[in-house]
């Protein structure tokens, strides 16, 4: 039993479990949230669930919803393969499972952050609306058909603790790859 436990790639196991937890948590808690005014408009973003709330109604954008499903299934596949790999890291097929699973959480985190940066840049360029990634700022909006009215909107944004779980999960998966050589070198039971 002791030998069996010694053979487990605990970084991989932790990474797999953290990835599964990340999926569940991200369904409820966004990684990043943008609030306009006093909750007049809220954008809740995570790779597995992105939605918007405005004037009392909550909605999502179909294309983003499809990308959320892609991310969810990718993370799920990654988490499952990481857990299977970590229990039997010395098998001949284990390296394939590891290679399949360990990079995906990191890529999802990177793509999410790059996507947010791109979205804020597009808003600034196209709509002249400065959206902060972290912190608060005010932005002035022009109102069509009401040239005598100027709206200055308080925009607050920030990353939540669920994003931290994702970063930790991705870190464990990378550590599992680095630790793989050590556990794979142990003699088979």
């Amino acid at each position: 039993m002791k030998d069996l436990l010694a053979k487990i790639n605990w970084f991989g196991f932790a990474g797999g479990v953290a990835t599964i937890i990340m999926i569940v948590v991200s369904m409820v808690y966004p990684w990043w949230q943008l609030t306009v005014g006093d909750n007049l408009l809220t954008a809740n973003a995570s790779p597995v669930n992105t939605n918007f709330r405005a004037l009392g109604s909550t909605f999502s954008i179909p294309f983003i919803w499809a990308l959320n499903i892609v991310s969810l299934l990718t993370l799920l596949a990654s988490g499952v393969t990481m857990i299977i790999y970590s229990i039997v890291p010395g098998k001949s097929y284990s390296k394939h499972l590891l290679d399949f699973g360990y990079k995906k959480p990191l890529f999802i985190v990177l793509i999410f952050v790059i996507g947010l940066l791109a979205a804020t840049l597009i808003c600034k360029t196209v709509l002249s609306l400065s959206i902060p990634l972290i912190g608060s700022t005010t932005s002035t909006l022009s109102i069509p058909f009401a040239s005598d009215v100027t709206l200055t909107v308080l925009l607050s944004a920030g990353f939540h603790w669920s994003f931290l779980i994702a970063v930790v999960g991705a870190g464990f998966c990378i550590a599992a790859r680095l630790y793989h050589r050590k556990v794979a070198a142990l003699p088979s039971i």
Binding site: A66, V70, P144, V149, T152
Partner: protein, 186 residues
Amino acid sequence: MDKITLILTLITIAIVVVPVVGVTLNYQDNLVGLFITPEINEIVDKFSSGVGGGDGSDGPEVQPIGPPEYDPISRTIKQVIQFENTFPFDITLKSMSGNVQCVEHGFDLGVASLENSISIPVGETKTVTLLITWTEDAISHFGTAHEGEETVEVVLANIGVDISGIQVQLDKNQMGQRMEIPNPAL
């Protein structure tokens, strides 16, 4: 082991392709709908009609009610005003500010502010109290430029309203209403 690699590759492709193609096929008759949902159009329509007043007027409706009360010790006038929520959502009127000017001379007399914040449901009208504090120069202006006049016509300019975290800055002409205030120098 090539089999495992192949299976994992196929899983990766399926995971990416199936949801994207599925949603695209679902919206093949209306590809714009992939990005712009009916809810977004509805919100844009509501904001357009709400900020514009929906009846051709601009911004929220603000009307003074009754004569103002003056406290000579604090040099402060209390003016009750009606505020109609023409926005398409419930609002909290957190603060209001503006400069009070003499209509006849364009002289800056003081600043106006809101006594308390108030919540106003969509479409409803509520009364709020506006406090106007005269400056020392304003008292002198009332005494010299309006000597003997019982009332002075003033207007609120550069009105700024904080509505649920959104600052609405109205043009001077937005007020539409001038106020007759008792001459504090009398």
